[in-house]
Symmetry: C2
Subunit: 400 residues, 2 copies
Amino acid sequence: MVRAAQTTEDLRRSNLSAVLRQVHFSGPISRTDLTARLGLNRSTIGALTSELVDAGLVTEQAQAGGGRTGRPSLLVRPESRRVHTLAVAIGVDRITAARVGLGGVVLDRRDTGTSREEYSLESVVGTVRAFARSLRAAAPSEAVHVGTGVAFCGIVHGEHGEVCFGPNIGWASEPLGKALADSLAEVYGRHRPVSVGNDADLGALAEHARGAATGCDDVIYLHGDVGIGAGIIVGGTLLAGTDGFGGEVGHMAVRMEGGKQCGCGARGCWETEIGEYALLKAAGREGVGREAVESVVLAARLGDTDAQQALLRVGDWLGFGVANLVNIFNPQMIIMGGMLRGVYLGAATHVRGRLRTATLATHRESVRLRTPVLEDDAPLIGAAELAFARLLADPLEAAR
Amino acid sequence: MVRAAQTTEDLRRSNLSAVLRQVHFSGPISRTDLTARLGLNRSTIGALTSELVDAGLVTEQAQAGGGRTGRPSLLVRPESRRVHTLAVAIGVDRITAARVGLGGVVLDRRDTGTSREEYSLESVVGTVRAFARSLRAAAPSEAVHVGTGVAFCGIVHGEHGEVCFGPNIGWASEPLGKALADSLAEVYGRHRPVSVGNDADLGALAEHARGAATGCDDVIYLHGDVGIGAGIIVGGTLLAGTDGFGGEVGHMAVRMEGGKQCGCGARGCWETEIGEYALLKAAGREGVGREAVESVVLAARLGDTDAQQALLRVGDWLGFGVANLVNIFNPQMIIMGGMLRGVYLGAATHVRGRLRTATLATHRESVRLRTPVLEDDAPLIGAAELAFARLLADPLEAAR
């Protein structure tokens, strides 16, 4: 309950952080606007931006004259091409790596499809290392790598991914973060922090920072593939839970009796009714993966009644669980990501119908249902934000 | 995403706030311990405590000699008998008011049973005014009232209780906060802020500050009477939701089909299976209210098989919903308050059995189930904390 006390050094650090966050999240901004937004005086802002310029994190330049008289306010820009992170997304079917510059710009990217049966720690680390090497070779010589962020399709223990469980890719307990940190040290010539997060959590962070939920502080990002997870932002902060395992909404039970067996060992979990297997089985399809899901959504749109029935059935259960989340969290927005995007778009009327009958009127009025603006890149962009977090919290220390 | 920048005036205010919070939540504490806990130097702490002494919020006195040599560190105490709030709890069956001193001490109290059929805004305001007048008459002449906090058994719109909905006491939409503020101004001779919160939310705050969940930053406090609500603390902060209506877990649907009609208009809500009516009906009892519930719990303990069956049935559904909350929130603790306390104590094995089969192993290991240390006073103590919040955030301004 007790807030930590503060020193003048904390104050300087927090103000440098506030300025860099503005530049990172809002893009190029004038000193005058920084002064107004942060409520600090002009000379303080000038001193802070000068320090950030000296650290190579931002540049300042005169603005093109907008017809106003007097000396124009300097424009402060993030050093996007110079300061960057390596963002990695390890999905059930795909591995992606990108160089993402300060300001959230994807500068360059590599990706490959994978088979979930052939996943091993070695193969994943090898793929990421090869991508990192290739991205580094293509980067300009002055580029500075400030860290790596990883979005992982499973449960992540520890902020550096000390132990990762990936039931849907057959991982029992793998030291992903350490293995990646060691392997990437070879690429970059020195050890740099590797931060690992759950893909739904990072999708939520990304949509909150730069996507559908900009300005919304109470947001649930649902990510679906074989399993269903959520990144839940409460009052602007990601819901972590006491171990960092919060948001396992796929294991919300929706049936007391007669539920299907779930991979977690329980019966009747939500993901047994709305996950990839549930949709494909309801549609009478063979195969797995996002492509199989998309083909059901497409078939339904083209008039295939089996596919339509499957989509409506899954949409009904999607609405059932979403209604629960609305009543529990009173969110401003729920975003349907991964395979749920297609299910939602194909069964939106059904989902909304369930919400109309099963949510409290007060809660229903406030909530908007959306799909991710960053589409399938939301976890990747969130991984970049994870890697930028240290720099943004303490710009001069982390830039060293 | 952007943190506000800070000035030296913010810094002083936040340090005064940090010191007063320590004294309020930890009780009497020496200057030396304040120095250590807050990481500030001795002279800064001395200056801050002197300001708080001048404002009449704390006293400083030499400690009784502990056998150590040298000048003993001054002991800083909250001015509990002088600085106080009026805390009010408006429950379904009972209205309570108390004078609660800085440091969370209940100095004096009044209460009365009520019938939920006879509730009206006028009768509630009249009762609270009479209690406030009586408490004031009994208070020492130097006592300073710094505000009123109210725990209300329903949905509260606005931090000052601009509109309150109490479906379980027949309130559609009442301006409780304004009516109380006007009425109490007559008692205290001037307008003082009245803050109103949901009783489950305030129970959570109280158990977090001074009860079972001290030191736990991820806690769910469940409150049961006719309805079921939750106060949910995520990372140390109360989950509000976008309108302040978060935590309506009683309206989590637990049946897709065949659910009972709920007061909210939907079917199959959790509270239709575990609320007061569900228990009394399952036990074949007439009557309503906490006493009727307690008589079922007692009968079960004495061997009445109908009462036992009813308790186990409700306990099973209690475990079903609690398991969902464990998977969604990964909390460190869940506290069963109101009528759920008796249900949980009478069916603990059943509740825990359901948790064993329906929660993720990682989540199950971390969660503890508890009953409120503050017992039925949790919402009342939370109401006092609500009223102290302004003073704690800005001690000198609010003490004026």
